[in-house]
Point group: C2
Amino acid sequence: APSTVNKSAHPFDKPRLEALLNRRFFYAPAFEIYGGVAGLYDYGPPGSSLQSNIISEWRKHFIVSENMLELDTTIMTPAPVFETSGHVARFADWMVKDVVNGEVLRADHLVKGVLEGRLEGNREARGLEAKAKEEGEDAKKKKKLKVKVTAVKLTDEVVKEYETILAKLDNYSGPELGELCRTHHIKNPDTGNDVSEPQQFNLMFASSIGPTGQHPGYLRPETAQSHFLNFSRLLDFNNGRIPFASAQIGRSFRNEISPRAGLLRVREFTMAEIEHFVDPEDKRHERFHEVRDVVLVLLDRHVQAAGRTEVMNMSVGEAVEKGIIANETLGYFLARIYQFLLKIGINPQRLRFRQHMANEMAHYATDCWDAEIENSTGWTECVGCADRAAYDLTVHSQKTGHPLVVRQALKEPIVSEKEVAEFDKKLLGKTFRGDAGALSKLVESMDESALLKLKGELAQGPAVVSTPGGKEFTLAPELLTIERRTFKQSIREFTPNVIEPSFGLGRILYTLLEHSFWCREQDVERGVLSLPPLVAPTKVLIVPLSARQEFDPLVHEVSMKFRNAGIFSRVDDSNTSIGKRYARNDELGTPYGVTLDFASVQNRTMTLRERDTMDQRIGSIDEVIATVTELVQGTIDWDEACKRLPAYDGVQAVE
Amino acid sequence: APSTVNKSAHPFDKPRLEALLNRRFFYAPAFEIYGGVAGLYDYGPPGSSLQSNIISEWRKHFIVSENMLELDTTIMTPAPVFETSGHVARFADWMVKDVVNGEVLRADHLVKGVLEGRLEGNREARGLEAKAKEEGEDAKKKKKLKVKVTAVKLTDEVVKEYETILAKLDNYSGPELGELCRTHHIKNPDTGNDVSEPQQFNLMFASSIGPTGQHPGYLRPETAQSHFLNFSRLLDFNNGRIPFASAQIGRSFRNEISPRAGLLRVREFTMAEIEHFVDPEDKRHERFHEVRDVVLVLLDRHVQAAGRTEVMNMSVGEAVEKGIIANETLGYFLARIYQFLLKIGINPQRLRFRQHMANEMAHYATDCWDAEIENSTGWTECVGCADRAAYDLTVHSQKTGHPLVVRQALKEPIVSEKEVAEFDKKLLGKTFRGDAGALSKLVESMDESALLKLKGELAQGPAVVSTPGGKEFTLAPELLTIERRTFKQSIREFTPNVIEPSFGLGRILYTLLEHSFWCREQDVERGVLSLPPLVAPTKVLIVPLSARQEFDPLVHEVSMKFRNAGIFSRVDDSNTSIGKRYARNDELGTPYGVTLDFASVQNRTMTLRERDTMDQRIGSIDEVIATVTELVQGTIDWDEACKRLPAYDGVQAVE
């Protein structure tokens, strides 16, 4: 039987994890030898592999499984696109400057940090229990500045006022934030200096396209706009039918004011976005039945608006029925997001879906749920799932004059009747000459009842009509006929709505690393990343006992066999002990290791080591390769592998 | 036996291909509904899939097969990095402006276009055969401006002068190009207006990082720099050993002055770059024997310098032996590039390797070979393979003070002896006080023979030494001892050289589309893209006879079975004839199609259609799926498939 493992012997230790990630080059500050740039990170070999395995699973789980239309579009975007989309005017944060040293701070983070610090100080002064624990679970915690807490008692009135301000924080405009700073004497907590009036800072990186400097451009802050701009082509590719989804994995940029949170808040990031185009009158989803019973942890907007944070465990089916999740398509994607995150190794106990409150939604969204994953900084939004309604398609269509609509043949044509006036054009021109046009327009603009009245009058003889300006015309009956006609509308034209699941891959990757990290019970210095085989950078480590040439043919054979089985392996023949090589690969999250020793050369056997338990089994080379292949493909688990391969109790101490 | 196909019945028709690519949304001008931006393109679903299949094969062929270390680094780069690398000063083109309408032109393209136009006019005037055909094969053709040719006779002297200018074109500085325009009355051919003095235009997109505007940045024009900056981490990851290679697939940007050539010259592009770090004293490659016999078409710099373009067919082994290709590592990569391009479907008859002449090399390169692929615009550089020597690592190391070197234990330590002087520090200070430091430096800087001479003198008594400035010191024998000592050097420290294969994926993709395109002999309107199954966007089209519900379970079954076999399929149940659906998928390059009809429901049979021949075979559903799987995996060819499955001669006319 496999060994049991105690993964929680040591409490989570963030600096220890960060040291590991840096040492093993999962990622590192970009331009490090030039001093680095805040918010820019490079992924090294294990980080790149982990990311590319997550992306590959994402592609299978969403694009392939749902036949989505993949796009690969440009990052550089001419300014008019983002003027129309609203990003130039609204994709901005308010910043203030320290008036002495020029340090730049986000205005809302500053107000929040300082007022929360004062409330904390008040609680201390009153001898109340600190609220820190509870705050630690708050979604907004990550935005907080580090503020030194001083025990100063506040009046009940002031406490109440601060709490009200904090509750409405996302609602304040820049000038209002400036007013708050003045009224409440809010200064830069690092220096004690005053801060400037808040200024808007657009979060898009600006550039200029071409040599003349006359074509401003921005680096996209999301991939979504290019899906919308290509909507007509996509619809055409899908033979004119909806619903369908487009998908894109690509780089986006946000020029954050002062990023400080590692991979959780960066200036350049890889995202994966789906734009699911749907009939606004029918947001059912044909595969909804597949996810109806998936139970999610939900934190809806009503609970939050009441200032509470209790979550509900509820099936997607029930949540849609009760209207907590607005429609089937939104519910379908929340469940699929949940399934994806579990598949790659996110701990379901630390995953919840939080609905945005009205005042925190992006300018284009009508509803939004975030998949939030808990980590050492609190609950972090890792996937957003927004209903952008028809906002983007409508504004681009209005701006460019290019219709971004679906034209659908109606199964049952809509039949209607109405009165229609028709002039004898020749007679009209002869009689009214220069006024003919105005007269014709006047009659065309008449509604049903006016036309009926005129029809009645003409049946009696000449009738008088007058323009809004008061000019009168007398119409002879032979000048025009008014008749009831039948109209048949067989095409319905509409702008689709868009449901947008949007994944921040760096945030998911980082939280996954936190969820996977633990230290061996017997030695806290020995860190392990228990990444699932599906996403682990390397699946198998091949460890020859030494770098002696006699192992070369076997190493080559085993490598080739793993490659042919589609299993990514690496050889570690470095000049160090087997134990140290395995310890290094525990840090790299490599789930399996095989050792080639003198017995392998003689008997064609190989030992197999499992990362978490450090259990060792033994079998013939081909047996072990077959077992590892099934383990990596997920068709068997380690228990089953242990039934197939006997335990190894060789004399060589390989740990 | 399979049918034979005549793919060259119709001459290549570029507008026809472009219409197909646009209609099927392989790619389209980005921001098209906003009027588009020159040099920016979006890839639609088939283009994205084609690109991602090429990338996936690239990853297998290079990264996996050679255990390269993959990186994923940021695009946004602080300015100092590109100041050091030389890009700020030198990554620029000279441009001129039309003095009336402000149109911007590349100065070298302008001179070339106008002078070539005049030479052409001269040939016309003299009744000589146009040189156009031959020029069409010239690598530089693509850069030519469209110039109206007027038949004007030139003197022999002027012809000679123009030809000399054109031959040296890449060597002229900006001011020299300006001088040429004045001397030869070169004007904007579109308007006849004068042009301005040439100004340098840097091809990097500029931006600014952070809210203060104090940190200028550039979008990278290549991914290479970030490999160099991370060199120490990479070396460490590779346990301190070289040679090794890092690899990265990512977006880069070049703000071209006036891009006009579709995907061949764009402002934003995906590239795949390898930086292979190698010992400058040993550029052998351990897998060179695998490619020794690969025969390449080579166009070396000596042939070109002599003004000729004859190529040689030569094995890589011979070319390295003869010194035509400088070393094994460069030769190895040229062969591997060749193998990769053939694998994805590039026509080997239209592929050559051209060595750069000294004057056209990038500022960092010491040798460079381009894989050039012929297409309708001429020979186009699609892969560059440069030896960057130690240039980049050296300049970054000097700038940052961070050593970017390899430290290697020497197998045989180098033992040397030399004379060493050692002062009695106390006595030295007491005797010479303020001059002690200068005196000590003076003796340290002495070479072997000077030390020996001093040693001899001191053996006799006090000795006099003098500084370069002429100041003299008298040294007592007890002040210092000079002894012969033994030194052992066991570490060798060196800056590695870099061999860089760099792939422009968009150029490869476009030329592949040209090489794959042809029209059916019987109907020029029916275009086909004969993409190899390995890279085709969709491998199999599943075509139910109609959208009737009775086909649904079978369609579902066949889709699932293909998915489980790892074969990417799509269902086309659109409301149009089977013939039209197949014609659409011929344009999409889908190599196989299976049809589900009433016989399928009754007998569980399915027909299989091959794209190029339009041959139809029939078999049981499982037989057909197994056959297609092998076809796509490349383990059998269509001839073999025809042996397994009988021809289909059903009554339904499905074409």
